[in-house]
Subunit: 134 residues, 2 copies
DNA sequence: CCTTAATTTGTTATAATATAACGTTTGTTA
DNA sequence: TAACAAACGTTATATTATAACAAATTAAGG
C-alpha cells in the first residue's frame, strides 16, 4: 500500500498552490510575500519547498529570470527535458510541448561523445500579442 | 576610416582578457577579485563590462551557473543562438558548435505562431573523463 | 506500539549576485 | 569646439540564495 511519492508537505503544498495559481513565473521573494499569511516566514522555507518541487518535477526554474513556473507538461520526465518560450516584451512565459523537439534534443549527441541526461532550452522573441502591437 | 565596432574600452578589455584566459566559466565576483590589481574596484564596473561583452557576443552567460565564458564560436551571431554542454560532476562547460543543431533551433516554430529570435540551450550530463571515473 | 532514521520545519544570520543613482570623464561626430 | 553618447568611479542598496543548528514531524520495520 506504499503509495507515497506524490504526498507533499504543508509548506510544499502552499508554495505549489501559489505557483499554480499564478499566470506566469514567480520570483522566490514574491512567493514569500504571498505566503506570509499562511505561516511561512523565512526565505529558506520557500527555497526548500522550491527545491523539492523542482526535484519531483512539479515546477521548473526559468533560469534567465530566476523565477519559478508550474509544470505544464505531463510528459516531461521529472524536469529532465524542458523548453520554454519567453516574450521579450510582456515577459510571458510558456512551457513548450513538442514531441519532435524533445526527441531531437534528448537524442542529440555532439562530437564530444558526451551523452546528455538533461537539458533546458529557453527561446526568446515576441509573442503574438506583442508582435501585433509593434 | 570609421572602423570602430571592435574597439573595447579599458575595463572591457581587462574583463575580457581574464575570461579568455580562464579554463572555464568565471563568476562576476571572482572576476572582480582578479582585476582589483588592475584598478577595477567595484562590482558595477565588472557588471557593466560583462553586459557590454555579452551584447557584442564576446562572452556568454551560463544561466544555470551565473557565470561567464568566452565565446568559442565565430559563427554564433552575436549571442542569438547559444548551446552549452555542462558536466554535472566536474562542472566543465563547453560551447557546442553544431550547425545542424543551430539550424534546427533557429528555424524551430511551435504552434503558438511565435517566431523566436534567440535561444539558449544548456545540456547536462557527465563528460567523458567523469564517466570513466564512475 | 515503539524506536530509529529520514525528512521537514523554524529561526537567525550571512553569503552571493546584481542594480540604482549620481556626478565626472572620455570618446565621437558634426 | 560644441554637443552628444558611452564609459567611468563611487557609494549605497536591492535581490537572490545558502549555512548552521536545533526541534518537530513522519515513515517503516521490529
Amino acid at each position: 500500500m506504499t503509495q507515497k511519492q506524490e504526498q507533499l508537505s504543508k509548506n510544499q503544498q502552499i508554495v505549489l498552490s501559489i505557483i499554480e495559481k499564478a499566470k506566469g513565473p514567480l520570483k522566490a521573494y514574491s512567493i514569500l510575500y504571498n505566503v506570509q499569511k499562511r505561516g511561512i516566514k523565512a526565505p529558506l522555507q520557500v527555497y526548500r519547498a522550491l527545491d523539492k518541487l523542482i526535484e519531483i518535477g512539479k515546477i521548473h526554474k526559468i533560469e534567465s529570470k530566476n523565477a519559478f513556473i508550474a509544470c505544464n507538461n505531463s510528459e516531461c520526465e521529472i524536469s529532465k527535458a524542458t523548453a520554454f518560450s519567453i516574450c521579450n516584451n510582456c515577459e510571458h512565459v510558456k512551457e513548450i510541448k513538442n514531441t519532435k523537439l524533445s526527441k531531437y534534443l534528448s537524442n542529440f549527441q555532439d562530437n564530444s561523445g558526451m551523452k546528455y541526461k538533461k537539458y533546458n532550452l529557453e527561446f526568446f522573441g515576441l509573442c503574438k500579442n506583442c508582435k501585433l502591437k509593434q
